[in-house]
Amino acid sequence: MEAPLKYIFDSIQFLKPEITVSLFLVILVTVDLILGKKNKQILPYISLAGLLITGFFVIQQFETSAFASVQNNIGNFGLIAVDSFGNYFKLIIILSSIFIILFSISSIEIKQAFDRHGEYYSLIFGMILGMMLMVSSVDLILIYLSIELVSLSSYVLAGFTKHSLRNSEASLKYIIYGSAASGIMLFGISILYGIMGTTNIYAINTVLQNGAFQPLALIISCILIFTGFGFKISAAPFHFWTPDVYEGAPIAITAYLSIASKAAGFALLIRFIKITFIQAIGSDGYWQLLEVIDWKSFLIIISIGTMTLGNFAALWQDNLKRMLAYSSIAHAGYMILGLAVFSDQGIMAILIYFMVYLFMNLGAFFVVMLIANRIGSEEIDDYDGLGYKTPLLAVSLGVFLVSLTGLPPTAGFIGKLYLFIALVDAKMIVVAIIALLNTVVSLYYYVRVLKHMFLAKPKSEEGKIAIGYADTVVLMALLIPVFVFGLYFTPIVNLAKNSIALLGF
């Protein structure tokens, strides 16, 4: 068999999840065309089925560790690395996609654009494909392409409800900002390629180990590339798009961007830094990086800037979506600290944090969406007295917010606890204290919502807000894990512990 063809066929066994997603992308488009204008409510269920199958394949290959799409001209490195680390993030992406599709079913905003449902779900699948490639690609070209695939899909999704001015503005800002960021990143990639002569990060690592390169150009290229990652995980100072886009986009999409796209960005950032710059891993789990760039200081500065800015800006927000946008910036800040530790323990902390963050953040957005469905507003003043009108929703939102703050007995506490343990273990006490103080600040704006819901008198005398049976089930699916993982978190910890291995390291 011809060599290129052989590589393709050899890779199929490792790419089943991605192939399934692509297949369902096509199915969704086709079914949409066949159905015409009617019966579109079947589309979300097809999507769910697709996600379940994909999830099955991911779990099936969870322990695999191999290259797919091998190019033997550069020492048998492939374009894609299949490993448990990537698979963990794929699971997070699939899990959050399932929830987002469930959200979309009950979202009024999405329902209003009923005739374009086909586009909506196929765009989501496009995004999923892009994100799954992001978490596993090890070649700069593929990295760039997958980021672009995710970005392009999310630009459209952010402006999905065309008639709303706020939506279109968000989408347009997102596109302009995103293009600039990706342009800068591409520039950095081209410089890096110019120095190294290869685009595969494993091969770059080999070159770096040999030590023949121009340091200034390397630093410039890496910082430029970081712009692209920073844009995806909304780290300061690349976060500017986040509040505007989160506020403008449909809530379901906002929630999606805050979890899945951020998770993919983090996976990519961790993989890029670890694989490219690693020298060795000590027996205690600490990494020795090549001394070419002071990544540690760099990440600490970025992280402290990100969490401080996110928390302080969130203090003054009166729109809940915007507040949650800033809060998600702050959370990205905490998680960058987990990477800055440069140890397996830190990575484990990030993995745990993401799993926990998935439930609590999606939960908060879900409640905000359900309330917005009924009262048509996300302003904090309109939440006055909500605790009496709809106790279940208000209490759930309270639990999610308390969990986001990181108080026991909720899962959020566990996420933060492991993060701080990793920091203290690495003797980064000062940084840990700064992060802790940031948490204190965050308590203020989270609890402010509780104050409005439970202590303020309702402005209007409207009756109770009832929620549907299906919505209650989804809510419970998010709420129960927040409690259960707060009390019995060994399963997540074990899963995360088994998932810290990147291919080769």
Partner: protein, 694 residues
């Protein structure tokens, strides 16, 4: 199904009942049926568990555990792995059976007793969460879970005592119970932390093994004693031992079936059960302290019960006294008899409480025994069962109470012959006499003689079937035949010869009682001797056995005789005697002035201290303040100048500056995407500049 799964199901059935009944109870009137059906189901499963364990796995300890928290290696401490789990030994399954049996009959009893209450369903939900918490205590294999369920039991007790919280006395009693318990729990928590810091584990078995291997807290036997006593503090609170016994009589403000379930049979026995669990780590010194506390708690309430007139309070003081008996028995090493007495006492005391509930129910909430009398004709079944349980409590032969009490008294005699210490023997027999006296006083005043309140007497009636049935069941369990074929020797019965055995002591030999040092050898002992620690102790027990039977029969008979002389035949006049020994009578009638003492010393002390603080504040502090005010006035003129020009200038500048920064930050998020991109480029340049030098 294996036993562990079965026990987990048994554990969670009452919790399920709690949740379902609580939420369904808001909408449906019949929600209490859920709880009742589930508790009967739980009881049936408990019987299955008991039977399977005792028939198939008699000598095995079935343990199952899982990692609850695994922090791995933590900086500054070492490895932290917290395991939760279940340990099924004979003690646990027997105790579980007892809890479920009594819980079930109390549920059934309450269906009629609580009828018409406005929070009917909630009452049953509370019973459910109590049963859940109690089962957790019984099954746990580690001391942390014990503590968690311990607090849950405290919570459910609080909820149930204050169930009629509109009554001020009830809500006060629930607060008192909760706070007094917290004092004991504080010590227990400290003890648990000592164990965890030393052994890095909460599991009973692992702690025992570590101590057996010679590892001690701070490497000293003294600290092991302290740890044991700290843990015992928890039992002092929960089992209402001296000096924290004051909450239990007040807890009688709760509904009477609750008193039967929680404050007689199960929860208050949790303290004894806890000591049974940690018995192997208690040193001789610790046991001696425990024994003395138990003896005091057995004696004082017994004297108080002599003069009380509230039917439930007499029973409450009797409960404290009997719990003290068990604790004392543990303290002198009569481990098996302590546990045996725990079980037999649970049955007949629950019967007595439910019987008193039946009386109170038919007398329209009259609780004063001086206003009762003659009820035996109106309520024959209640009378018969009450009498039978009273005989058991007094320790009359052919009852279960005789078997267990006799064992404890023989234990005190054996202890005396081994150590020469007469204290426990004296207390043991005195309390036995007092118990017989006050119980018969109660029976005679309530059921015999002429009715004192004619109107209420005429309305009295026998209780309905659902209230009678539990009484018959429980009084039936007060007969010896369920425990041993020989009514005079409990050792030959299956409970003591096969099911419950003294554990292996793990404390260092130098720290034990001398008679516990020699381990019983495997095989060389026949069944009759396995209730004990060493040959020496066995012989002492045997030679104490026969004298005890006669002696205890004699003192109990004496107590009953005096009760009859005073109240039935009126040969002696109780009032005259009371007048003659007025100070002693007052001491007993006023409960040894414990509440007054605590009120004066602790509550009053706190108040006095805060009054002192107020005085201190008013005179000294204010004086200083006033004095300095004059000084300040002078200074202020100077500083005023400084303030208005320099400080204000600075503050204003800061405010202006912060405002400027705020403005700047807000300017950053302009909403204009062009600005954002410029900012990104700008910050990129800064980053490049920062890191270029590396």
């Amino acid at each position: 199904m294996d036993l562990i799964t079965l026990s987990v199901i048994i554990l969670f059935i009452p919790l399920l009942g709690f949740i379902l009944t609580l939420f369904a109870g808001m909408k449906f009137k019949w929600a209490f049926l859920i709880e009742n059906v589930l508790i009967v189901l739980g009881f049936i499963l408990s019987v299955v568990l008991l039977y399977t364990k005792l028939s198939g796995y008699l000598d095995e300890n079935i343990v199952s555990e899982f990692n609850w928290i695994n922090f791995g290696v933590v900086p500054f401490f070492g490895e932290i792995i917290v395991k939760l789990g279940i340990k099924l030994d004979n003690v646990a399954v027997i105790m579980n059976f007892t809890v479920f049996l009594i819980s079930m009959v109390v549920h059934l009893f309450s269906i009629d007793y609580m009828k018409g209450d406005k929070r009917y369903n909630r009452y049953f939900a509370y019973l459910g969460i109590f049963t859940f918490s109690m089962t957790g205590i019984v099954f746990t294999h580690n001391v942390l879970m014990m503590y968690i369920f311990w607090e849950l039991v405290g919570l459910s007790s609080y909820l149930l005592i204050g169930f009629w919280f509109e009554k001020k006395s009830a809500s006060d009693a629930s607060k008192k119970a909760f706070i007094v318990n917290r004092i004991g729990d504080l010590g227990m928590f400290a003890g648990i932390l000592m164990l965890f810091v030393t052994y890095k584990t909460f599991s009973f078995q692992e702690i025992f093994n570590a101590i057996g291997a010679g590892q001690l807290p701070f490497n000293s036997e003294f600290w092991l004693t302290i740890t044991g006593l700290l843990l015992f503090c928890g039992a002092i609170g929960k089992s209402a031992q001296f000096p924290l016994h004051v909450w239990l009589p007040d807890a009688m403000e709760g509904p009477t079936p609750v008193s039967a379930l929680i404050h007689a049979a199960t929860m208050v026995a949790a303290g004894v059960y806890f000591i049974v669990r940690i018995f192997p780590i208690l040193t001789g010194d610790a046991l001696l302290v425990i024994g003395i506390i138990g003896a005091i708690s057995a004696f004082i309430p017994a004297t108080i019960a002599l003069t009380q007139n509230d039917i439930k309070r007499v029973l409450a003081y009797s409960t404290v006294s009997q719990l003290g008996y068990m604790i004392m028995a543990l303290g002198i090493g009569a481990y098996v008899f302590a546990f045996f007495h725990l079980i037999t006492h649970a049955f007949f005391k629950a019967c007595l409480f439910l019987g008193s509930g039946s009386v109170i129910h038919s007398m329209h909430h009259e609780q004063d025994i001086q206003k009762m009398g003659g009820l035996r004709k109106k309520m024959p079944v209640t009378y018969a069962t009450f009498l039978l349980a009273t005989l058991a409590l007094s320790g009359i032969p052919l009852t279960s109470g005789f078997l267990s009490k006799d064992g404890i008294l023989a234990g005190t005699l054996a202890y005396t012959s081994l150590t020469g210490n007469w204290f426990f023997t004296f207390i043991g027999f005195t309390v036995a006499a007092l118990t017989a006296f006050y119980m018969f006083r109660l029976v005679i005043l309530t059921f015999h003689g002429e009715p004192k309140n004619k109107e209420k007497y005429d309305h009295a009636h026998e209780s309905p079937f659902l209230m009678i049935m539990p009484l018959i069941l429980l009084s039936g369990l007060s007969i010896f035949i369920w425990y041993t074929p020989n009514p005079f020797n409990a050792d030959s019965g299956w409970v003591l010869s096969k099911w419950v055995k003294a554990p292996t002591i793990v404390t260092p030999e130098s720290a034990r009682y001398s008679f516990m040092v020699e381990e019983p050898k495997e095989g060389s002992i026949n069944n009759h001797e396995e209730v004990t620690f060493s040959h020496e102790y066995t012989h002492a027990m045997h030679s104490a056995h026969v004298p005890t039977i006669f002696l205890s029969g004699f003192v109990a008979g004496l107590g009953i005789l005096f009760a009859l002389l005073f109240y039935q035949w009126k040969k002696l006049d109780a009032d005259k005697l009371a007048a003659k020994i007025k100070p002693l009578y007052n001491l007993s009638y006023n409960k040894w002035y414990f509440d007054e003492f605590y009120n004066t010393v602790f509550v009053g002390g706190t108040l006095a201290f805060s009054n002192f603080l107020r005085w201190f504040d008013n005179t000294i502090i204010d004086g200083i303040v006033n004095g300095s005010a004059a000084l300040t006035r002078g200074l202020s003129k100077v500083s005023g100048r400084f303030d208005s020009s320099v400080v204000d200038g600075l503050v204003n500048f800061m405010a202006y500056f912060s405002g400027f920064i705020g403005l700047f930050i807000r300017k950053l998020q302009t909403g204009k995407v062009q600005t954002y991109i410029v900012l990104v480029i700008f910050s990129l340049l800064i980053l490049l500049f920062l890191f270029k030098s590396f």
